[in-house]
């Protein structure tokens, strides 16, 4: 296969037709360049949007209560629905389609947090340990609320980074006691979620809050994760099924959105990802289309080349060139042009997207770019590899018909003196 002579022959013909070879190669390079840029941009957009979903588990669902607006089972509308600790037990143990559960109990009014002379007003999230996974909370120090904290109603608290800065300045907050209202809580962890307002929030055990702030067995809302599915239809069915289960427990119409409100993010997530799938398909179609145009160009040029070289091919055949060696000559030239040109396009395209990515990261690092819906617009290695394989195959395809024509050249016709 590797034969110095055949490459020398090919290179000498390419050298003879520099401009033509360049133009041909350019169309292929342009095709693959556009494919890479489009794919990279598609990826960038998708990554940017995915980032928006990254603050929570994608299968998160919120449920809250209100007053009924529809009569149900002989009961009049206007009834107030309330979640209780029994609902928590139901959701964690028996409910279908539910994975992790955290209850939430709202503290009334503004709560002042203080440490020594420093104080400030911050919001409090009362929760179960599952919230760590459900809301994808990131800890920089210590630990999150655990089951023992819930069971023993411990007065422990996990604070957001903004709270740490406000109350502790440079001091290490771990193990220190801060006052929430007038009750001292021990700091057990620090959270930091860039790009969210959670840094001005503290997390305390749900049970502790319920007891300390006179909540009885009242639960204001539930944050849960549902069974993971891949279609919008299934996600909507889960939402419906959860509502039905809660409606049965509390005697309200499952369609009554003011009795119980719910939001299932999975539906939106899947819908968005479906759009990106469609975009990616579209990009591939356009990219492949551009590439085909390039390949047809190569094929065209090779046809002309074979036509021009008919006499030369005839001479070769009269000297003993077999049809196979003639085919190899044309095919390899075609593959060489497409592969080299395509590779250059590939490198340029990937290079450009990497440069854009570098620029974006610089902007992010500089604190800007929060609103940019564009992250990591690069093409992964396997895609680039696929593109390379497509190139080589298409080079061979482009050369096939011309090569066959060349093999069919009849020496007597080619050598006839005009």
């Amino acid at each position: 296969m590797f034969d110095v002579d055949i490459w020398q022959e090919i290179i000498s013909t390419i050298r003879k037709n520099k401009l033509r070879t360049f133009l041909t190669g350019f169309s292929v390079a342009w095709g693959i360049f556009m494919l890479m840029v489009l794919l990279g941009s598609g990826n960038g957009l998708q990554n940017g949007v995915r980032e928006e979903f990254a603050d929570n588990a994608v299968n998160i669902m919120w449920m809250w209560t209100g007053k009924t607006s529809l009569p149900y089972n002989g009961l009049k509308e206007g009834r107030e629905i309330r979640f209780t600790n029994e609902d928590y037990d139901f959701l964690t143990i028996r409910a279908e389609d539910i994975d992790q559960v955290s209850s939430r109990f709202y503290l009334r009014g503004d709560i002042t947090y203080s440490y020594g002379k420093e104080y400030g007003s911050f919001s409090t999230s009362t929760c179960h340990p599952s919230l760590l996974d459900i809301e994808k909370i990131k800890l920089t120090q210590g630990r999150f609320i655990n089951d023992l904290d819930i069971k023993e109603l411990r007065k422990v608290i996990v604070i957001g980074d903004e709270i740490r800065k406000a109350l502790f300045k440079e001091e290490d907050p771990m193990g220190k006691y801060i006052k929430v209202g007038s009750v001292p809580f021990k700091v057990i962890g620090i959270t930091l979620d860039p790009g969210t307002d959670r840094n001005r929030q503290a997390y305390m055990p749900f049970t502790t809050a319920q007891r300390l702030f006179a909540g009885g067995n009242r639960v204001h809302n539930f944050t849960v994760t549902t069974r993971m599915v891949s279609s919008v239809k299934e996600a909507e069915a889960i939402d419906q099924h959860v509502r039905e289960q809660m409606a049965r427990r509390h005697d309200f119409d499952p369609e009554d959105n003011s009795a119980m409100g719910s939001y299932n993010m999975l539906t939106d997530y899947i819908r968005t990802m479906k759009i990106f799938q469609a975009i990616r398909l579209f990009v591939w179609i356009i990219g492949i289309g551009t590439l085909i145009a390039g390949i047809v160009g190569v094929s065209n040029i090779m046809l002309i080349l074979v036509k021009e070289r008919t006499r030369e091919i005839g001479i070769r055949k009269s000297l003993g060139a077999s049809p196979a060696s003639v085919i190899r000559l044309v095919l390899l030239e075609s593959v060489l042009i497409t592969t080299v040109a395509g590779y250059l396009g590939l490198v340029t395209g990937v290079g450009l997207m990497e440069a854009v990515n570098f620029g974006l990261e610089q902007m992010m690092a500089g604190g800007g770019g929060e609103q940019i819906f564009f992250r990591n617009p690069t093409v992964n290695f396997s895609t680039a590899l696929t593109a390379t394989a497509i190139l080589i195959v298409s080079g061979a395809l482009a050369g096939y018909i011309p090569a066959r024509n060349a093999a069919n050249v009849k020496p007597i016709e080619a050598l006839r003196d005009e």
Binding site: S318, L319, G320, S322
Partner: protein, 243 residues
């Protein structure tokens, strides 16, 4: 070396069939120096193409070195051409972007001889034809006579048994034509069968056997005593003489 029995060849174009060779019987022995003459359309080029396995025939037999040549596939034909036959053409048919050395070495490339080895051999052949100093020149930089010498060197390099020359002097002036014929004579002296197609009487007169073709058959074969007479006639017709 070459035996033809009742060879027929027709070209079919659409509904018309052109019967070009109408039963050729011919025997050419190893080491003969033969010329084929005839007006255009007499079928001499077709005959040469068939002898060179560039074209197939319809009827009859063609034996080359005792082997019957009929219906070979392209690859087989290419191998036989490469090993048995050397071609020399009127318009030289050198490959324009290859220098003299590379042109001469090309048949050996198709015999899969290594690059270094075939360049050494090609240089020997160029030297033999007095073209050593022109080895790295492209065909465009050579004179007609030099080009034809390169072409003959190329035809010789694969040590063929037969050299087929189609109007080898057709594009050359008189002096160069004789020079080229001298070379072909030397080639023939080495025992290689040389067959040339020509329409020039003085060129044909330099060969040892003249085959005249007429309307697809062999009209007459001039040898021995007849040939001497033929040469006399040609000599008297021309102002120049040759040795």
């Amino acid at each position: 070396m070459i035996v033809l029995n009742n060879l027929h060849k027709s070209y079919v174009t659409g509904n018309n069939s052109l019967h070009v060779l109408k039963g050729i019987d011919l025997e050419i022995h190893a080491g003969e120096f033969v010329s084929v003459m005839g007006s255009s359309g007499s079928g001499k080029s077709t005959l040469l193409n068939i002898l060179g396995i560039l074209d197939d025939y319809d009827e009859g037999d063609y034996f080359l070195d005792g082997k019957k040549i009929k219906g070979l596939n392209e690859t087989r034909a290419a191998i036989t051409r490469n090993q048995m036959i050397g071609f020399v053409f009127q318009s030289f048919n050198l490959i324009s972007f290859k220098n003299a050395l590379e042109n001469v070495a090309l048949p050996l490339y198709y015999q899969k001889v290594s690059r270094r080895k075939r360049n050494v051999i090609a240089m020997e052949y160029l030297d033999r034809f007095g073209l050593k100093d022109w080895a790295d020149h492209l065909p465009a930089e050579l004179s007609g006579g030099q080009k034809q010498r390169v072409a003959i060197a190329r035809a010789m390099i694969s040590k063929p048994q037969v050299i087929l020359a189609d109007e080898p002097t057709g594009a050359l002036d008189t002096a160069t034509s004789f020079e080229v014929m001298q070379i072909l004579k030397e080639v023939n002296d080495q025992g290689i069968t040389v067959i040339i197609v020509t329409h020039e009487h003085d060129i044909a007169a330099m060969t040892s056997k003249i085959i005249r073709m007429k309307d697809g058959i062999i009209g007459e074969t001039i040898i021995n005593g007849d040939l001497k007479m033929y040469r006399e006639i040609i000599r008297s017709e021309n102002t120049f003489s040759y040795v």
